[in-house]
């Protein structure tokens, strides 16, 4: 009778607040050997090399301009990270931006003011998230197939509405989201990025919802049998990704001051790159938000630093590819020793 007594004991231990350790190592040793520590080293290196390589790098305004390289992508990457940890993926995010931006353009033509435009953008993103969520979570279709489909679908609708035309002439106040500054060099987008980073940190690492996401990613069946409503969590994650794509759409449309159906083409791969570089296992189940934040900063700085030296874009892509592979390979090699 002693065997069945053990599981209830463990459950009571966890409900009383003690966290079950993921690895049997001291927290400090774990932190030092973690992915995030490695990313931090890479970040410091990239920053230092850039400062030496270009006299224009260490300038508050230039660095502020550089943040636009990653803020919008990072906003989506936070939600995508949670989705990938849960073992799903959403490849339609860039197309959601196109559709949300087109919807905002239609609203603008109908004479909507700034608050309505923002609501339309966020609402369209959310609606697209619902479509993905219903198809994946309710109907049980594989997310990679569903979102490859909706990737064409959402952008296709934009192309039907706009063709080779563009929406221009957004109201003046709308420009604030993509071009405005909260204080000194801190742009609205940068501040929003920081706020969202904290919010997603709390959601993934400090809430039951976050624990459920990890549980589903590690073993969805086990999670289901431990009372986690797997389908509901998956559905909410797609909603969240859709919503964040809507947020990014508002920022990007505001920054460009116009909408074309080709807006944000190819951004989904950059977002996924950012997430994977951030140490989120593509197989699900592990990774952290601080990792994604560091990955966003590294990608932004590498792009900007190479841009300052006028390195052709293709060399940048090669470097990012190598960075991605080495950052993934190094911990695996270390672990093998």
């Amino acid at each position: 009778m002693s065997a069945p007594a053990t599981p209830p004991a463990a459950t009571t231990a966890s409900t009383t607040g003690r966290i079950l350790p993921n690895r049997l190592q001291s927290p400090l040793a774990r932190a030092l050997r973690s992915w995030e520590a490695l990313l931090l080293v890479v970040f410091v290196l990239v920053f230092a090399i850039n400062s030496f390589a270009s006299p224009y790098f260490l300038n508050a305004w230039n660095l502020s301009d550089a943040t636009f390289n990653f803020t919008e992508k990072a906003m989506i990457a936070f939600a995508m990270a949670m989705l990938i940890i849960a073992g799903e993926i959403d490849l339609s995010v860039a197309s959601i931006i196109a559709l949300a931006s087109t919807a905002m353009g239609l609203a603008m033509t109908a004479g909507a003011g700034v608050p309505v435009l923002v609501l339309v953008g966020l609402g369209t993103g959310l609606l697209c998230g619902v479509v993905n969520g219903v198809l994946v979570a309710r109907m049980g279709l594989p997310s990679i197939v569903v979102t490859i489909g909706t990737m064409s679908l959402f952008r296709g609708i934009s192309y039907i509405i706009l063709g080779d035309q563009a929406f221009t002439g957004y109201p003046k106040g709308f420009g604030y989201f993509g071009q405005g500054y909260v204080w000194w060099v801190f742009s609205f987008e940068l501040v929003l990025f920081a706020v969202l980073a904290v919010a997603f940190y709390l959601l993934l690492h400090k809430s039951t919802f976050g624990r459920a996401v990890y549980a589903i990613g590690n073993n969805a069946t086990a999670a289901q049998f431990s009372g986690i409503r797997v389908a509901r969590v998956r559905f909410l994650l797609f909603l969240l990704t859709g919503l964040m794509s809507g947020v990014a759409a508002v920022c990007l449309t505001s920054r460009l001051g116009s909408t074309r159906p080709s807006i944000a083409t190819g951004m989904e791969l950059e977002v996924v790159t950012m997430v994977v570089l951030g140490g989120i296992s593509i197989l699900g189940g592990s990774g952290t938000i601080p990792g994604v934040v560091l990955a966003a900063l590294i990608m932004g700085l590498v792009t900007f630093g190479f841009g300052l030296l006028n390195v052709p874009g293709i060399v940048m892509s090669i470097f990012l590819g190598l960075l991605l592979i080495s950052v993934i390979a190094v911990p695996r090699l270390l672990r093998r020793k």
């Binding site: 990239v46 270009s54 224009y56 230039n62 563009a166 807006i263 951004m267 900007f304 390979a329």
Partner: protein, 330 residues
């Protein structure tokens, strides 16, 4: 160890690049293109380098995104602003999306012009078109007339009957016809920019007008199809096909003689002229305002209209003498 190795290679790469970019107080002109690795733009860069050599105190920064996206161009523009370049000359992927960033560049004292593919009016100081409708209209008639000393019948093979560009050019061509006595325009037909339909329309022209001396096709699809139709009918030397075409596609027709000559803009001249204009605006020797004439070195002067747009020149003529050089460019 791998991190160390990476750091060392990165550092080496960075220093090598830095040494290259560190230069004296030259005028820095950035030629921003739609995407790197496109022959047309590589040729424009050649022209820009030629202008830089002629001017002496100019550094050309030839750059652009990997894909033809507005977002990529904005990242490039931001890094150019940060480097404090003196001028940005851009062929835009999107006339509107790059405008806010270019406005920021102008606010920070950078001269901004667009060329080839324009930017919305508020995002640039001036725009340089490769040519104008009037110049194109005149050129296509002149190309035919040059090889018809005794005059004769010509026909136009256009794209679709609703193609705005082609219709304007044909309109302009009709206006200049009285300047070419003996040239008789007998028909305008439409091949819809489809290779097979254009080919059949050309065959129709050949059958209907036995005295036809030239087919003028102001479209790259039409000119190619018409030269094929003339070749297949064995009428090389009797009917000359001309108009607007791409050197890479037309090389065969020029070599066989089906086409004596044809025209299209010259990307080398375009890069050259954009650089010259940027330089003059930076140096203050010219101002970008309606009616102004901005010197473009060997290309003459760019005359700005009410929208601060200018046409560079007649389309450039390609024939047996230069097709070899250009067919690998675009």
């Amino acid at each position: 160890m791998s991190i160390l190795k990476k750091a060392l290679t990165t550092a080496a790469l960075a220093t090598a690049l830095m040494a290259q970019s560190a230069m004296a107080e030259n005028v820095k002109i950035a030629l921003v293109v739609k995407a790197l690795g496109i022959g047309f733009f590589e040729a424009a860069n050649k022209g820009a380098e030629e202008a830089a050599k002629e001017l002496g105190d100019v550094d050309i920064i030839y750059t652009g995104p990997t894909d033809t996206t507005a977002e990529g161009q904005i990242e490039v523009i931001n890094s150019l602003i940060a480097q404090g370049v003196n001028a940005i000359a851009i062929s835009a992927n999107d006339p509107d999306a790059v405008a806010p960033t270019l406005q920021k560049a102008m606010e920070r004292g950078i001269t901004v012009i667009s060329w080839d593919s324009g930017v919305a009016k508020e995002g640039r100081q001036m725009h340089l078109n490769p040519s104008s409708s009037a110049l194109i209209g005149n050129t296509i008639i002149k190309l035919a007339a040059d090889h018809m000393p005794e005059g004769g019948d010509v026909a136009i093979l256009s794209a679709t009957s609703t193609s705005t560009n082609q219709n304007v050019w044909i309109e302009e061509a009709k206006k200049v016809l009285p300047n070419y006595p003996g040239i008789n325009l007998v028909a305008v037909v439409y091949g819809d920019d489809l290779a097979d339909k254009s080919y059949r329309e050309a065959q129709g022209l050949i059958a209907t007008y036995p005295n036809l001396k030239a087919i003028i096709a102001p479209t790259t699809v039409g000119i190619l199809a018409a030269s094929q139709a003339v070749t297949d009918a064995g009428l090389i030397g009797k009917i000359n096909v001309t108009g607007l075409g791409l050197p890479s596609e037309m090389a065969g027709a020029v070599e066989s003689g089906a086409t004596e000559s044809f025209a299209i803009w010259n990307p080398i001249d375009l890069g050259y002229a954009a650089t010259m204009i940027s330089y003059n605006l930076v140096k203050g020797t010219a101002k970008a305002e309606p009616g102004a004439e901005i010197p473009m070195g060997r290309m003459g002067a760019a005359k700005l209209d009410d929208n601060n747009e200018a046409a560079m020149s007649d389309p450039f003529t390609y024939d047996k003498s230069n097709i070899e050089q250009f067919k690998s460019i675009f």
